[in-house]
Symmetry: C2
Subunit: 138 residues, 2 copies
Amino acid sequence: MQSAFDLKPVGVVRKSADDVRIEIFDEYQDALLGLDGFSHIYVLYWFDQNDSAEKRRTLQVHPRKDPANPLTGVFATHSPQRPNLIALTLCKIESILGNKITIEEIDAYDGSPVIDIKCYIPASVKDADVRLPDWVGN
Amino acid sequence: MQSAFDLKPVGVVRKSADDVRIEIFDEYQDALLGLDGFSHIYVLYWFDQNDSAEKRRTLQVHPRKDPANPLTGVFATHSPQRPNLIALTLCKIESILGNKITIEEIDAYDGSPVIDIKCYIPASVKDADVRLPDWVGN
């Protein structure tokens, strides 16, 4: 596959009846040092179930698949249909053991390829400075 | 380039003495519809200046390049050295005109390739539930 940038999975989402985990591949386990100091992480994964030319060409959607919400550009949403199929989601860590991060929940399918993990540091944006369109509150 | 996933730039960071802009390529401009309803965006860009095998092999760093901070896995930081060179940063929108999003500031170089834009919706995480290691407050 010809790609502008070399993007590879670093782990995988695993969901079972018992728990929800991010399993980082062994070769990247050293990148988890100190992660246990954080309560939350950003998980970036790839919407691999949508990796078709058609879904990547989708530039406008009705947010949350609700036709009552106005047609909106995908860059103004977190839609799983977008030019680059990057998902960004905030997760609460329950425990870390070796290369396995057990998390509270994640809006991903079992088997989704994880492409990055970043620590969560709360934004210094004041609530009063945040503006949102009406559909967000619906 | 052989890549697991096809990742392509959708725009570019432009910095001048006058302003800081995200310029979205014409073919993706329709994805901006409704973005003007938001005050802030997540900008995802590619640390293209670090796109070497050596920097992508770096799994542990001293956060903020401060040797006083403990050696930490890159997944527990926002380091620009990491297996996949994805940067995630929150920006305040000043104005949007056509395919140009003028923002207050961004911690990126002029010319950095933009790979995604997502609307910012504040996290529903309570401050009391957030845990951070000491180096974050240093």
